[in-house]
Each structure stands twice: as C-alpha cells, then as structure tokens.
Subunit: 191 residues, 2 copies
DNA sequence: CCTTGATTTGTACGTACGTACGATCTCGCC
DNA sequence: GGCGAGATCGTACGTACGTACAAATCAAGG
C-alpha cells in the first residue's frame, strides 16, 4: 500500500474522529504512518487531501443506499418501503462513521464548490435510483416529474432518518411505523 | 447593544459565511466591532462563543419549523401536508443562512456533546410538534408510538428537504408533488 | 553498475492562532 | 468628587500550524 493510499485512509479515519478542520497535517501523517511532507507531494495540500477523503467517504454512504434499495423485491410499494427502511435503519446503526463523514461532507459543501457539486450530482442520482426502485421499474423509464416528487420524498426520508440515526439512533422508527405514518399522511379523510 | 450581543451576532454571521473552525477570534472581533480580548471576557473562549452562536442559530430554524407547522389549518391530513411543505419550501428558499447554520451545527454535534444534546432534545420536540400538528390534536394527547412513527417521518421529511434546499434549492418539490409521492408510497396494490 | 525519475524523509521558515494580563475606561453610588 | 466594580482595550507570549525545499532513498531500464 502506497503512502498515498495510507494518507487517504488515515484522512477518512480522522475526518470521522476529529472532523475536517480539527485534523492537522501532522495528525494525518501520524495516523497514516506516512511522512508529513508526503501530503504536499501526493495531494498538493492538506486541504486537497481532506477534500478527496471527504468525497470518498460520502460516496461510500451513497453506495450503501443504492445497494440497499436495489435489494428489496416486494410487489407492493408500501411493502418495498417497509423493507427498505428496515434495511437502511440497520445499516445506519452499524455504520455510524459513514454517517458522521456524510455530515462533515455536507458541512464542507457550504464553503467548497467542488464538494457541493459532487454532492448535488450524487443526490440527483440517488433520487432517481430510489424512485425507480420504489416503483420497481428501470431508471430510464422515469420522468422528471416523478423524480422530483417521489425521488425527493424518498431521498428526504432517507437523509432525514440518517440525521436522526446520527444524533440519536435509539429513536429511529421501524419500517412498519414508517409505512403506517405514510398512510396517515396520505389519508384523504379527516383523521 | 453590548459587546456581548455584538459578538454573538457576528459569530452567527461568520458561522454561516466561513463555518465553525475557519472563523478566527480576530475575525469575530472584526465582524462584531468588539475587541479581541472581549471574547475571553464574555465567553471564556472563542470556542464557547462559537458554540453558543451555533446553538442559537440552530434554535432559529427550529422555531421557523414550529411556527410554520402551527399555521396550517386544513381538515384533511394530506392537505395539511401539502400546505406545510409549500410553506417550508418557501421558508427554506428565503433563509439559506439558517440552513447553513443548521448544517454546521450538526457537523459540530459529532464532536461536541453539548451541541449534540441540545440538538437531540430539539429534534424530539419538533417530532412531537409536527406529529400533533399533522393530526390536528394537542401534543399532550400523543402517544410515544405515534411520535416515533409519524413524528420521525415528518421530521425526516423536513430535514431531508432542508438538506436538499441547502444543496440545490432548484430541485425542491412542491407540496403537491410530495403529497402525490406519499400516496404512491402508501399504496397497497402493485403499482 | 550506473543513471534517471518517482517517491520519501528531515527540517526549518514564516505566519496566524488563542489566550493571558495589566492598563484604561465607564458609570452608578456613597 | 472620588471610589470601585464591571467592561473594554492594547499587546505580547508561546505555540502549532501548513508548506517549501533540499537531501536521501528506492525501483527499473540500459
């Protein structure tokens, strides 16, 4: 494993443990076993290394979501939702570091346009993937309207639950509770 | 206005413009017109000032949500949802700074237990408020089960849409689109 | 075996940071 | 009018930061 890889791995670790800005170049060197000066050589600057690490870490959470969504093969939309939520909630509980990294990525996105753009693109893709999975159709068949509606809602749901998992995993709902809540919200009669 | 207040106002401004850690004590002094040494005098440390500012800023977004939720008085759950989403989306578009501050607050929560606790409490309250508003009942009448289900879903929806507004406001759905998406998800028949 | 280019190392420079602390000011009160 | 506590100011100290750069090392090719 090259120092470059070591640095990236260490950066991701420290991103989760200390956050973006509290991580110093010397921390990175120590955590990765690489030499302080290697940061400049391989990445140009400490900031560039941290940005790269942040984007990679965020990508991993996106991948988790995508694969989880793809795995649910029920017939009924509500049932698919239930299964997905349960699977995601389980994933969230087990991978808190990835959630932390995602939150750090979002925080950086406020000031770094590179990160912002990657996140925006990734979000758009996730919305399409989720909308398609939820309807059990091919992503190509989706119209923009559906992505904006269904995709946004699904993404919001997952992102919101991720935030909840990040803050207080104990309070996460089950897939069943989510489905029942959705049915209440969909209701077209006074309570 | 005292220097203390000036410092807090400046800190909130810089929290949004530069983020938590990139804001230096000298930035704070300059932005608030207060003297560098006043930070130590009034808040003990620069970090304590930034934490206070972060919590205040986060509270403002919570207040926005709460008042918006309270304002929607339709009879039908879905209709209430539609109105709320439209109102919140409008609020998000007009108050990007508050969204930025919230994201910064969450990022800090990963490493600061004070912030984490306040955020957790605030989230729990918001979930209850939203669940109650959505059912058009008094918060006291809510059972824990409903808060966990309906409250979580509503909170996740709002938090998720906030994140979307933060990243790419253009892609936000309308209340109508959200309601239609929810109805699809609630569907108990194969598409 | 020597050369050459890509890495890794050691180190030091300049800078900007947070904070401590004494001096100075403000102003209500005796 | 002076006293004293609270607030503000000026400044300097020690530190830790990011980065530059020359030296050392390594890996292949001729």
């Amino acid at each position: 494993m090259s120092q470059r890889d070591d640095l990236l791995a260490g950066a991701k670790k420290l991103l989760v443990e200390k956050g973006y800005h509290r991580t110093t170049a010397r921390d990175l060197a120590a955590a990765s076993g690489a030499h302080l000066a290697s940061i400049g050589y391989h990445f140009g600057s400490k900031d560039a290394l941290m940005t790269t690490a942040t984007l990679q870490a965020q990508g991993e959470w996106g991948d988790t979501i995508d694969t989880t969504m793809a795995a649910s093969g029920a017939e009924i939309p509500a049932e698919r939702l239930r299964i997905c939520v349960d699977a995601l909630v389980a994933a969230m509980a087990g991978q808190r570091e990835v959630l932390v990294a995602s939150v750090q990525a979002y925080a950086q996105a406020a000031f770094d346009n590179d990160i912002r753009e990657v996140l925006t693109t990734a979000t758009a893709e996730t919305r399409a993937t989720m909308a398609a999975a939820s309807l059990d159709i091919d992503p190509q068949e989706l119209d923009a309207e559906t992505v904006r509606g269904l995709g946004s809602v699904l993404h919001a749901l997952v992102a919101g639950l991720s935030l909840q998992a990040f803050l207080d995993p104990e309070s996460l709902p089950t897939g069943d509770q989510v489905v029942r809540a959705v049915r209440i919200l969909a209701g077209d009669q006074p309570d």
